[in-house]
Symmetry: C2
């Protein structure tokens, strides 16, 4: 199987099968992997999704539900199902996935679902629901393979086989003491290789990385990525083992964090859903645009201070839009590089200082290069060398402002504990707009 | 161990230890994980790095080298070492990591390193060097655990234990026939659970996902993420098993692709290194700025077409900068959401159409909202309702242009096979700048 995209022909086949009987649909579904069906669901109406879920075997149905994007509202789909089918599906889900889906629903709907479940499953999910979904506790799965440190090889292997029956896959075996306190990890390799009379105690690796349940998901992702882990154990304040976060959950976190960075830099609220509707988009973006309107008035008010200059040299009005616009783009460049760099690793004071110096130099050089072009055009086209000089100085000056603000504002925000990505281009371009109007007008007033 | 950041106190301790003797440095190094030492290397000079690598045990030294970012030039560090130490370190590395590092060096340096290695290691690395580093073949590791489909449980387990001796960790056991043709995968769980007389043939799972060696790394990442895999097998055109790509390599790819998206949207060349020097930054950004300068002249030339209008109503000159600027920011918002959405999943024609309609609506509404604010200000501050009406129409019109271009240009680029992220804000804002000048001037000419 190598197909991993749902194309139009797949969709057409499904639309046709949905018009037919269940047997037809069932045989078509057999050709698709659960994650492919989840992709397909993005393009099907609610009733078709419910019908497919009801036809699918429970284990596949639960995998489809787990694979659906949060935005596709898998909870809504569950609520629409017959309570019995629904409980079967939820009991098949990993607890962390079940919790994520259920946490999206209203309190009432949550109660309704939980009441129908086995006591044990309901309790596990209730315990997970209390963690913030953006923390290790919210991401973790409580189904793990763990063995007591006092077991011998044979008992440990039996235990591992028994516990893994219910799991899709496991990467690491956790070793705990009688009080469930995490003692270390055990690799499959080391227990397979061990002599028959070996004990877990002799095989356990006590040098391991773990996280507390309340650690932010972004930090969990850094750790997993930094130490190249397939999973990481989650403990409470007493080192009691609560669960594990696996790398597949972390990949989702990384994607989400990168999306937030891109959106915030571009002046979009970080929780706008990419495929959300126009109402949400307006709500997410209008506040930023109104802030921008305020700053634009601020910049425009500078122009009014130089009414005399504009009247004497109306050509400046056209040129200053060029200088302001170039500053905005240069600032966005410096901002993107700096924000992304901060978000991948922390900078020392020295590195931060060097970054600002670098962006100053880049602004100076790019400013001078573009300034010379503008000067030449003014000289040949407007036949005005003095005007060219004014524009050269203003361009260079504004691109220096762009480099300095684009680099230093996110760095300062990071230092004072504010997310550097909120230094969106909307904020930074306020500076380059103001300087982009002020510099050419001021130089023109002095030099022309 | 939960520390995962290198802070100033760590750096100070190292700087102090580096002034002392080797024994002192050695005992300090014992407190740090290889990935922490790699982080620390970002802040140390070349000679300190070489000294530390020489002091570290070979297995830790090789892990540090593997963990160093490409930008930190681990190859340069290897070249500086004594050939014997260097060969020891490389032989300890996974082949894929060794290949990545060696591929960064000159042809001559590559030869020098490879000649000193064991014949087998050198051959394996030479084979990997021929794959493009951005493909499955370039990412893959050839050290895998594979068993013949004809083995029984005991022989298979022996084989697994034997092969895993040399590996750090394995997630999946690959099953091949006598010709090394991939037949399926075997989970540790299923072989542990199997009866003593079971054969691999009975346990193998033949429904698996694989990739061809020349598949682009971005597609490998989508597959691994979509199917929640810890690793994926890589095969040649005849289904012969070549190696596997593991999820930790994929996390690096995802980070890199997100960085490229952010940079490209912001008008920075995708291969600018985040911590590169000012020369590289100028080279990466200046071409975009010069393109922007050209488009800015285009927009400014529009202003010159309406010289009469500007002369009659000089106030328009200030207002049109506001309208153009607002359009630029609204376009950046629409662009960021659309580019990110395309980069996470392909859109059907219907979804693409809906996206454009959505952004049209968002532009209309945000434009009208901001237009009303501008209208009110013009009415009360400039005492000119007609001017307010001109500005209202121009603002609404330009934010519609912003939404339409921000959404449709990346979608069209994707359709014709061009990376949608090159529709950077520099390109998109050309439209909003032109419309931002044209609309208020044209409406003013007609209505005032």
């Amino acid at each position: 199987m190598q197909s991993f995209e749902i194309d139009k022909s797949d969709l057409l086949r499904f639309e046709k099968a949905l018009d037919g009987n269940d047997a037809e649909l069932e045989s078509l579904l057999k050709e698709y992997h659960a994650s492919e069906i989840a992709l397909l669901f993005e393009k099907l109406p609610q009733e078709a999704k419910e019908r497919i879920i009801n036809i699918l075997p429970t284990d596949v149905a639960s995998e489809v539900i787990a694979e659906m994007h949060e935005e596709q509202d898998p909870g809504e789909l569950l609520i629409g199902l017959h309570p019995e089918k629904r409980s079967e599906i939820i009991e098949e889900l990993d607890y962390d996935d079940a919790t994520d889906i259920i946490s999206q629903l209203d309190e009432d709907e949550q109660q309704e679902i939980l009441e129908d479940l086995d006591q044990e499953d309901a309790d596990s999910i209730r315990a997970l629901l209390k963690y913030d979904e953006d923390t290790a506790g919210g991401l973790m799965d409580s189904e793990i393979v763990k063995v007591n440190i006092n077991l011998d090889k044979k008992d440990a292997l039996d235990e591992i086989v028994r516990q893994s029956e219910e799991m899709e896959d496991f990467y690491t075996i956790y070793v705990v003491d009688d009080g469930d306190i995490l003692q270390g990890i055990l690799s499959v390799k080391s227990i397979l290789k061990a002599k028959a009379d070996a004990h877990v105690r002799d095989l356990v690796n006590t040098d391991f990385v773990y996280v507390k349940a309340d650690l932010d998901q972004e930090d969990v992702a850094s750790l997993i990525s930094q130490y190249n882990l397939a999973s990481i154990p989650v403990v409470d304040d007493n080192m009691k083992l609560l669960g594990r976060v696996t790398v597949d959950d972390i990949m989702d976190v990384m994607e989400q964090e990168s999306t937030e960075d891109i959106l915030k830099i571009s002046g979009v609220s970080e929780d706008e859903e990419l495929s959300g509707n126009w109402k949400d988009a307006v709500k997410s973006r209008l506040p930023w645009l109104i802030i921008n309107l305020g700053t634009a008035y601020l910049a425009a008010s500078i122009i009014r201070q130089f009414d005399g200059t504009v009247e004497r040299f109306p050509i400046i009005a056209a040129y200053m839009t060029i200088i302001a616009g170039m500053g905005g783009n240069a600032a966005t460049q410096a901002l993107a590089v700096t924000v992304r760099r901060i978000s991948l690793s922390d900078l020392t004071d020295k590195q931060a200082y060097n970054t600002v110096i670098k962006e100053f130099l880049v602004g100076l050089l790019n400013g001078a290069a573009n300034g010379i072009i503008v000067l030449i055009i003014a000289y040949f086209y407007d036949a005005n060398l003095k005007l060219g000089l004014v524009l050269f100085l203003a361009m260079t000056g504004n691109l220096i402002v762009a480099g300095l603000t684009g680099a230093s504002i996110p760095l300062v925000l990071k230092r004072v504990g504010i997310d550097p990505a909120v230094a969106s281009s909307i904020i930074i371009t306020t500076f380059t707009d103001c300087a982009g109007f002020l510099l050419p007008l001021w130089f023109a007033t002095k030099l022309l």
